[in-house]
Structures are given as C-alpha cells and as structure tokens.
C-alpha cells in the first residue's frame, strides 16, 4: 500500500504522495501483463456491448459498403473490357454496342455509388453516435454509482477526461474508421479473388508480401498499444490539472500562482505531446513500411509478369489490369494503416472506460433490497468502526441509538469525526465493522431509493449546480411546483433575497453558484433540503456562513420542521444546538457525553465548558 513513489523528481513533487499508487486509476488498470491482457479483453467486450444493439444496422452498413465496393470495383473491369473488346469491336467492326454498354454500366455504378455512399454516411453516423451515446450514459451512470471514496481519489478532472477526451478518441474511430476497415477488408478479399482469377501465378507472387505486412502490423499493434495507453494517462493528468486550476482560479490569482501553474501545465502538456507523438511516429513507420511493401510487390509483378508476357503466357491487357488492381489493393491498405492508428488510440481509451465500467462499487446496492414500510426515522449505530486509513481509526467503535423523531446535536472539536458519522448515516461509506440501521434495516440491505427518500444530508460544502435558483432548490424534490419551491425558500428565509435578484427565482447562479454570496448559497441549499422533506435530516454545519439574524430565522423554521422528524445537527455554533432534544459530545470518535442540553450544562462536563466558552464569546 505504501509502495515507494518516485519522489525526488522536482517536477512531480508538487503532486504529493497519494495513499497508494493505485490512487488514480480504476483497479482494473494495473500494469502487469495479465492485467493488461484482461483489460484488452474487457475493452473488447465493451466494444461488443456497444455494437450489439446495432448488429442489424452494422450488417446493413457492411452491405452498403459491399455494394459500393463492387460499384467501384467495376471501373478496372470496365477498363479491361473496353480495351480488350470494346476498342477492337469499334475499330474492326464499327460496333459501338460494347462501348455503349460500358457507358451505361458506368452511369449505373455512379448512381449506385451516390446512393450507397449517401446512405452509408448517414447510417454510419447514426450508429456511431448512438453507440457513443450509450457508452457515455453507461459511463456516467457508473460514475454516479461509484462510492464517494472512489471519487475522492479519482477526482472530477479524471471523470471529465474519461467523458471528454477518451470519448473523443472513440468518436474519431466511429467517425472515420468503419468504411476504411470494411473497404480494405473487402478489397483484400475481392481483389485477391479477382487477381487469382485473372492470373493465379501473378496473384501468388503478390500474396507473398502478406507475411511481411502482418509482421509490420503486429509490431505496430504491440508498441502503439503501450504508447497510446500512456497517452491516455498523460492527457488525463493534463485535464485534471486544467479543471482544478480553473475551478480554483480565485486562489490561483490571489496567490499569484499563474506562473507556477503555467510551468506545471507546460510540463504536463509536453509530457502529453511526447506520449501522443510516440504512437503517431510508430504509425509513420508502419505507413512507410506498408508503402514500401506495396512498391516491392509492384516491381516483382512487373518483372515476373513482364517475363510471363514475353513468354506468351499472359496478355498485355491482363498484366495492365493486374497492375491496376494491385494499386487498388495497396492504396486502401495505406488508409487502413491510418485507421489502425485511430483504432489503437481508441482501444486505449476503451480500456480506460472499461476499467471504469468494471470498477467494483464499494458501497454497492444490495442484491435483495429491503424496503421500509412506514418509516419512523430510527437510527442505530451498533459497534460501528470506521477509518479512512487503516492506521487512523476515526470511529473506534460507536454505538448509538436515535429514536424516531428525535433531534440530536453532535458537537465536538474539529476533526473529531462528526461529519464522518453523518456520512455513514447517508451511506457515503460503509462501516468497516459493526452495523448502522435505519428502522431496524441494515443500511447495506436498504434499497438505494428508499435510503435517499428517507435520509437527506446538507453537506458541509454547499454545492450549487449550474442553473437557476429555482432549479437548484428543485433538486430536493424533482417536479416540485413553483409554489412549493417558493414556500421552501420562505421557510428558511431565502425568499427575500431571491426576490431581490434581477430575475428572482430564475436567476442563473453561474458556475458553482458564484453569483450568490456564501450565506445565500447556504440558504438555497437549505431550502433544497427542506423541499426534500425526509424522515431523517442531517445538517452538517448548515448555518456556518449565515449571519446571526438569518441563522435565527433558520432555527425558528427548524423548530417547527423538526418536530416530527429525526434530525442530526452538527454545529459549532451552540445556538443551533439549543433546539436539540439531546446533545452528543464526540471526542476522537467516541461519545463522551450524552443527554439533554440543560442536563449536560448542569452536569459540568465538557459540554458545559464548551457552552461557557461559547457564551463568553458572544459578548
């Protein structure tokens, strides 16, 4: 777990050491040969999954391509017919019928080509886009279900990288690839057949180059897989850095980090450039090699075929046609080399995505979910043990029973584990030992939807989504009417300031709610939670950024709202605690005091001391 990370490099020191080397990847993406093999096969099966629903469409597309291929294949044949029979017919007999036939055939093939190509372009775009759409959604949904701890190490930048740059790589493949692939495949087959028919001997000579090409392709496949795999990593790191520094641009500017950021970014950019270039360079070698092989074949056929002609074994026309075919044999191959490049890059992206898709969900949905018939909101911790890092137990063994409807305040020093308790009730994490249950049902057995309907938490970070204020409040209860939204805002005392904004509830909050003040953001989040109307409400420092009048307003609202609800309130401002039925003092993950606030104050313990300090601070 604590494998040494190379750390002496000045350029990476800024990143710091992650807890484990695997911090930034899905567990599927290990380095050893077996894992890579598994990865390859997974990415292939992911590709299969993408293509399966479109089997018919793809078959249809291949059909179109076959038609197209034959249409274009007609040209050399027609040339041959024209030279071998059309011309003599006109010259010797003044008979134009063959030429007319050829003309008609050309016209037909042009029309055919037009129609089929048009169909092909649209159909393939439909299939390609539909596949990407499905993949995007699947990956998104997977990310949504993965646990918070996964996201903690994976970072949003990497999620974005998977959804943008990796998808882009695959899009490139779906966009330009299939026709090349099929065309080249068809070409190889049909032209081989045609060549065999025209002149088996010459054909055999041509086919001798095959092993060479296979060897070259194998080499490229091997080395470029490594190169592109690495390129996927470097671009992800680049994106992570970009996303983070743009998200924290205020701090960047206020702390004059621009230069350093540019320096680091430039380094990442260069790394990425080299990584990307590597694969492309390998591709250049392959491409040159393929061309060379093609020319070699031409020379051999020219010599051998020429000799055959001299011997009288073949006609000149046959040789000419044969050489034409060879051109048509090798030209698409060169295209195919380009496609192969795109394919390799896309495969690397698919590997990354299949890593995500196959990542095990730490906080998994139960196989046989149980539901709660009539929720009372009773929460029970039974010998709950929890740690983020094995050597640092945040909760060494917590037992706690909160009856339905009780309002519990959780107080304690910063870092004591209050938020951790709250996150456990919301099942952001599963306990490492012991059980947590809601109305007697272990959270691990509870259906996700049931849990979320009953337990809602306001997190310490007030997160607003891009959209209007109304939309942000509505998140608490999708489909809520405007009246309900306004009512929720009124209850928490947010209505007034919202109304005063230029567009009222339809004011756009901008990125992360930048349009609002910190306290206003907090009120909006509060309104969101009220609208959700859960059995168990968890407030983690939900009033920390409010001024005293607003806080008071919120408290008054809480008093009525929490009357018949279970609530866990975490607050450093003891004013908020006063509305609680019961206070728990948490110290280093243990409950040291437990009782109604008045009783605790009277008893003269830690809480009494805290309370005294707090009262002192008020003057």
């Amino acid at each position: 777990m604590t494998a040494p990370v190379k750390h002496d490099d000045k350029h990476v020191a800024w990143r710091g050491r992650a807890e484990s080397v695997e911090a930034e990847r899905t567990s599927a993406e290990l380095d050893d040969a077996a894992a890579i093999k598994r990865l390859r096969s997974r990415s292939r099966s992911l590709l299969g999954w993408m293509m399966r629903p479109h089997r018919r469409a793809i078959a249809f597309l291949v059909g179109i391509l076959v038609v197209q291929n034959f249409a274009s294949m007609a040209a050399p044949i027609l040339v041959m017919v024209a030279i071998d029979s059309g011309i003599p017919a006109v010259r010797d007999d003044g008979d134009y019928s063959i030429l007319v036939g050829i003309g008609v055939a050309f016209a037909v093939s042009a029309v055919l080509e037009y129609v089929s190509l048009r169909l092909y372009i649209v159909q393939s775009a439909k299939v390609g886009n539909a596949m990407l759409y499905a993949l995007r959604n699947r990956v998104f949904w997977k990310f949504q279900r993965l646990s918070v701890s996964f996201h903690e190490r994976f970072t949003s930048g990497r999620v974005t990288a998977r959804q943008s740059s990796d998808m882009e790589s695959i899009r490139e493949m779906t966009e330009n690839g299939m026709d090349d692939l099929v065309m080249a495949g068809l070409n190889i087959i049909t032209i081989t057949v045609v060549m065999l028919v025209i002149d088996p001997l010459l054909a055999a000579v041509t086919l001798l180059t095959f092993p060479l090409m296979v060897m070259l392709a194998k080499w490229f496949s091997r080395v470029s897989a490594i190169a592109y795999r690495r390129a996927r990593e470097t671009v992800a790191v680049l994106i992570v850095y970009f996303v983070e520094s743009m998200g924290g641009i205020r701090a960047v500017q206020a702390y004059r980090r621009e230069e350093r950021d540019k320096e680091i970014f430039a380094k990442l950019n260069t790394d990425n450039r080299h990584a990307q270039a590597k694969g492309h360079h390998q591709n250049a070698f392959m491409s040159g090699g393929m061309k060379g092989i093609g020319h070699l074949a031409t020379v051999v056929v020219l010599l051998f075929g020429g000799w055959q002609v001299m011997q009288g074994n073949t006609g000149v026309g046959v040789l000419a046609a044969f050489l034409l075919y060879m051109k048509r044999f090798f030209d698409p191959l060169n295209e195919l080399v380009q496609f192969y490049n795109v394919l390799q890059s896309a495969t690397a992206a698919l590997e990354k995505l299949s890593g995500v898709v196959d990542e095990e969900i730490e906080v998994a949905e139960p196989d046989e979910p149980r539901s709660i018939e009539c929720p009372r909101g009773e929460v029970r911790f039974d010998e709950v043990e929890f740690y983020y890092r094995e050597d640092q137990r945040v909760l060494p063994g917590l037992s706690l029973h909160i009856p339905g409807g009780q309002t519990v305040a959780l107080v304690g020093a910063t870092g004591a584990g209050k938020t951790t308790v709250a996150k456990l009730v919301s099942r952001f994490y599963d306990p490492r030992g012991g059980t947590i249950s809601l109305d007697g049902v272990d959270l691990r057995d509870l259906a996700e939807a049931d849990l979320r309907d009953n337990v809602v938490m306001i997190t310490q970070e007030n997160f607003l989504f891009n959209g209007t204020i109304a939309e942000n409040i509505e998140l608490g209860k999708p489909g809520a009417t405007r009246e309900e939204i306004v009512e929720a805002a009124e209850v928490v005392g947010a209505h007034e300031f919202i109304e005063a904004l230029p567009d009222g509830y339809d004011t756009h909050v901008r990125k992360r709610g930048g349009r609002l003040s910190a306290g206003q953001r907090q009120l909006v989040v509060f309104a969101r939670a009220f609208l959700a109307d859960p059995r168990v409400l968890i407030l983690d420092e939900a009033t920390s950024s409010l001024d005293i009048p607003s806080e008071r307003l919120v408290q008054r609202a809480l008093r009525t709202i929490l009357a018949d609800r279970t609530a866990i309130i975490i607050a450093h401002r003891l004013s908020t605690v006063e509305i609680a039925d019961r206070v728990l003092v948490l110290e280093a993950g243990r409950i040291t005091e437990d009782g109604p606030p008045e009783a605790l104050i009277a008893s003269g313990g830690d809480y009494a001391e805290l309370h005294r300090q707090w009262e002192d601070s008020l003057v």
């Binding site: 952001f428 005293i548 601070s617």
Partner: protein
C-alpha cells in the same frame, strides 16, 4: 492563427516540400510501369524490363521513405503547434478575471483546449497536408493528362465546375452544424465535471438518476447534432464521388473511341486511365477534407472567443512594482462603488474606510450585504466601478498587479484547496517559503494535524481538500494566507468552521501575526470580533458605522441586530 505557425515556418516549409516530392515520387511510378508495358514488355526486351523495374523500385523506395519522414515530421509539428496554443490559451485563461470564469463552465473551456485543439491539430497533420497534396497531385495529373491527350484532359478538368459549386454549398451548411456540435460537446463535459465535483450533493439527495437523466439529455442532443451534421455531409460527399466516377466513365468511352480511330495508342489510354484513377480518391476524399477544414475553422473560432476576451483586470500603463518591505499597509477606500456587471443595482454604493498600518478591522454585515465583494477589492480580484482604493496613498491600480497581490493576501470564505501536496497548497502564494515559515504558519492556524497525515507535508490531499474535515480545510487555507506574510491580510470569515475551543486557540495565535499586519476580517460572530481593533458595519452598500465593538453595541441598533445574540429571545 498565423502567429502560432510562424515559429514552425521552416519546418512547415520543409514538410510541404516533402509532401510535394512524395507526390512526385508516387506519381512517377505509374508512367514508368506504363512505359515498361509499352516498351520492353511489348518488345520482349528483358534487359530493358530489368532497367525499368530498377527505376520503379528506386522510386518506390523513395516514395516509402518520403512518406515515412513526412508523416513523422508532420505529426511532430502539428503536435508542437497544438501544445503551443494550449499553453497560450491556458496562460490567457489564468489571467482572465473571475467574472469570466463564473460564467464559463469548466467543461466548455476544457473542450476548447482538448477537443478543439485536437481538431486543429488533425487538420494540420492530416487535412491540410492532404489538401496541399491533392491539389498538387491533381495539377500534376492534369498536366500529364494534357500531355497525353488534351481534349480528354479538358473533359476531366470540366468536372471541377460542379465540384466547386458543391463545395461552396457545403461550406455554408456545414460550418454552423460543426459549431453547434462542438459547443454541445463542451456542454456534455461540463455536466460530467459538475456531477463528479458535486457527487456528495448528488448522493446526499439521491439524485443520481436525475443527474443521469440530465446528462442523457445533453448527450442525446450531442448525438442528434452529430447525425444532423452527417446529413449535410452526405449530400455533398456522395456527389463528389459520383462526379469523379462519371468523369472516369466519360474519358474511358471517349478514349476508347479515339483508340479505335487511331488517335490514341492503347498504352496511352491505359496510362491516361491509370492516372485518372489516381485522381479519383483525392476528389472523393475532398468532402472529408473540407469537413475537417470546417471543423478546424470553427474550433479556431471557439478558441479565439476565449483568446479575444481581454482580462478586465490588468496593470494600468505606468503601474509600478512595489517592494513588499516598503509597504506599510495603510489601506483606504475612498468613495468606493461596485456593481457586478449584469446587475444594475450597486452592491457597494460609496464606501469610505481607512485602515491604519497594523490595524485590524473587522467587517460585519448581513448575509449578502457585500462583505466578500468589499474585501475582494484590495487585491484587485474585482475593480471598483467608482471611487478608488489606495495602499499607502497610492491608487492600487498604479501598483503592479503582481506586487499588489504579494502585499495583499486573502483567505477565502470557502477553502479552495487543490489535489496536490499539503506543502504545495501551503506555499501557494510564496513558493520560496522555507520549512520554518510553513511550520510557523501551521502553528498559527492550529493546523498541525497535517503532521499526522500519512506523509506529513508531502501527502496529497484530495480534490478541493475533501479528504480533510471542514475545519481542517479552513485552517489549512488560513495557514496558506499566513505563510505569505502580507502587508495586508484579508480573512473572509476565517473561523466559521471551527469549534469554539479551536477558534480561541487560533485567535490567540493569530493575534501575534496581526500585531504588525494590516488586516481586514469579515466576521459573522461576536467571537471573531475579538480579533479586531475596530469593526465596520456594512449596510446597504455603505459603511454605516465604525468603531469598537462595545461602542457599536451601544450606539448602533443595526450593528446589534447583525451581531448580537442577545436579541434572540425576541424570536422565541
């Protein structure tokens, strides 16, 4: 765009020359083959055949070699250009004011430096080279065709007319379609990023399915735009194809007749046709190249949208650097007004306030009264829309931004941490800070918990510092501001996430620092007021009252309302 190519002009020139040579080499092979058939093979001249074969082999080798090297350098150059532009855009984005960043979703910016730049790169490495190559090739082929049989060649050349018309129509329709798709792809990245960043909020409410539906909608829109684009493409691409083969058919028929009439030799005809076949695919691929070109154009537009945005906050001409040690820290607001640019109401409507060097001034005010706005002005994260702010008597706009921000440091109300080492986060504003400075700052902010992290200061903290507790984050952010040892320290509600006990410890430690530092502290609680020498009450965009806490408690009812817990009982 041109300026980014200039540094590479020699390379680009060399490359394009290579492309041309490559074309020549490639093109000279078929005539050689044709000549071999017409000459030695027809005549039964084996030695001659060998000679021709040798030439073909040499040309072939040259072709392959050129193809390899040109591709090699092509990608190298294109990627270098891409990386250069990316650096420039990144640097520019970093200078753009926060107002810009509030408005632009990160995903949109990201799609510009990744997807869009990728398109431009691909055009440089592929499309553009192809365009040059095929134009040249077509010219060459046409020249040869003219040489062989000019009448037939004119027939071939005539096909350029419909091609041109088609291409023009294509441009008109395809550009907006490509643009729409690129914009939407930025939108999709934005939703992806946001839903990952806000994963806790999403999970806390169980809104995963809703987010997925939202994402699905955006993704579906992207898909539909992609398909729409293909409809536009299909119309012209397929016509390109059909025209190319129709033209081939025409020449074949006409050529055959000419051969029959003795106007053309058989070898000439087959050479002609073979050459024309070589012209087929550049024409067929023209649609594809045009599409790439269009996409690169719209991508460049999108990038220029960002690059053309001027940073709103810049050095004034004649602005001078100030040495940190020469700054005493007398800060004054003189009739400062501020309005956010889309809000006609002023957030600040004439703030007059003077802070003496070394003084600590607390700023109180209701939620949304403009405290954060006010304290963002001295470090010029925003510029006042009226009035001015002076530092030691100099308008801060006449001080170089860099030195101003060294002198004035802010700890924001929300700790903005990065997923880097603790050390890097801590030394954000002063990379040259030594271990002692860091430890001292950690002590002041009571952030010594970092020593218990697995690798101490070298531990990487999670994104936005989310692997720390709320109070730990805040203290780390505070320590970060303290490390800078600024002349003016701005603390925006710095202790909101701390428990009373820790708060007291921090206050005590901070006091020493604040003794000789000018400080602006936004406060919400009476407890934090203790740090300050004086308190200013911000009310309706003005400073309604300034004085000592105890004085204001007596004299200002507004102040009492904002900061006193006493009146609580009124509610109950």
């Amino acid at each position: 765009m041109k300026q980014y190519l200039v540094p590479y002009r020699i390379r680009l020139g060399a490359q394009w020359t290579m492309v041309l040579l490559n074309v020549v080499a490639g093109l000279s092979i078929p005539p050689m083959v044709g000549a071999a058939i017409d000459g030695p093979i027809t005549n039964g001249d084996l030695v001659g055949l060998w000679r021709y074969a040798g030439v073909v082999a040499a040309l072939g080798a040259l072709d392959a070699l050129l193809s390899l090297t040109r591709r090699y350098f092509q990608t190298t150059t294109a990627m270098a250009i891409e990386a250069d532009i990316r650096d420039v855009v990144y640097g520019h984005l970093q200078r753009l004011h926060t107002g810009f960043h509030d408005r632009w979703q990160t995903g949109q910016l990201l799609s510009r430096v990744t997807t869009d730049l990728g398109m431009i790169r691909r055009f440089f490495a592929g499309g553009m080279v192809f365009l040059i190559m095929s134009t040249f090739m077509i010219t060459l082929i046409l020249a040869q065709l003219l040489w062989i049989e000019w009448r037939l060649a004119l027939v071939v050349a005539a096909s350029a007319v419909p091609l041109f018309l088609l291409g023009r129509g294509f441009f008109k329709n395809f550009l907006p379609a490509a643009r729409a798709e690129q914009d939407q792809s930025g939108e999709v990245s934005s939703v992806a990023e946001e839903s990952a960043l806000g994963i806790r909020a999403v999970k806390a409410l169980g809104r995963g399915p809703l987010m997925a539906a939202r994402f699905g909608k955006e993704a579906a829109h992207l898909r539909d735009l992609g398909i729409r684009k293909s409809y536009i493409a299909s119309r012209s691409w397929s016509a390109f194809d059909a025209i190319a083969s129709a033209s081939l058919g025409t020449t074949l028929i006409l050529g055959s007749i000419m051969v029959a009439n003795g106007g053309l030799s058989l070898g000439q005809l087959s050479a002609f046709i073979m050459l024309q076949l070589g012209m087929l695919w550049p024409i067929e691929a023209a649609g594809w190249v045009l599409a790439h070109g269009n996409e690169a154009m719209t991508a460049a537009d999108r990038i220029y949208e960002v690059l053309d945005t001027e940073p709103a906050i810049r050095d004034r001409p004649g602005a001078r650097a100030r040495d940190r040690s020469a700054i005493r820290g007398a800060l004054a607001f003189e009739g400062v007004e501020f309005a956010y640019d889309d809000d006609d109401r002023k957030t600040l409507r004439g703030v007059d306030l003077a802070v003496k060097p070394g003084e600590t001034l607390a700023i109180a005010g209701k939620t949304g009264s403009g405290k954060t706005t006010l304290v963002s002005l001295p470090s010029r994260l925003n510029d006042p829309t009226g009035g001015r702010i002076t530092l030691d008597g100099t308008d801060i706009r006449d001080i170089r931004l860099d030195s101003l921000r060294r002198a004035v440091t802010t700890a924001f109300e929300e700790a903005t941490l990065f997923s880097m080492s603790v050390r890097e986060n801590l030394a954000l504003g002063r990379p040259d800070a030594d271990e002692h400075d860091l430890l001292e700052a950690l002590r002041v902010a009571q952030a010594e918990f970092v020593h218990d992290l697995p690798y101490g200061l070298d531990t990487r903290i999670g994104e936005q510092g989310l692997s720390l507790s709320g109070g730990q984050r805040q203290r780390l952010a505070l320590a970060r501001a303290v490390v800078v040892r600024p002349a003016v320290l701005v603390l925006d509600d710095p202790l909101s996430a701390l428990d009373v006990h820790t708060e007291e410890l921090v206050e005590r430690a901070l006091e020493q620092v604040l003794q000789d530092t000018t400080a602006l502290i936004v406060v919400h609680r009476p407890s934090t007021v203790a740090l300050a020498d004086r308190v200013a009450l911000l009310h309706e965009g003005r400073i309604a009252a300034v004085g000592r806490h105890s004085e204001l408690m007596e004299s200002s009812p507004d102040y009492v309302e904002v900061l006193s817990a006493e009146s609580e009982e009124v509610a109950a």
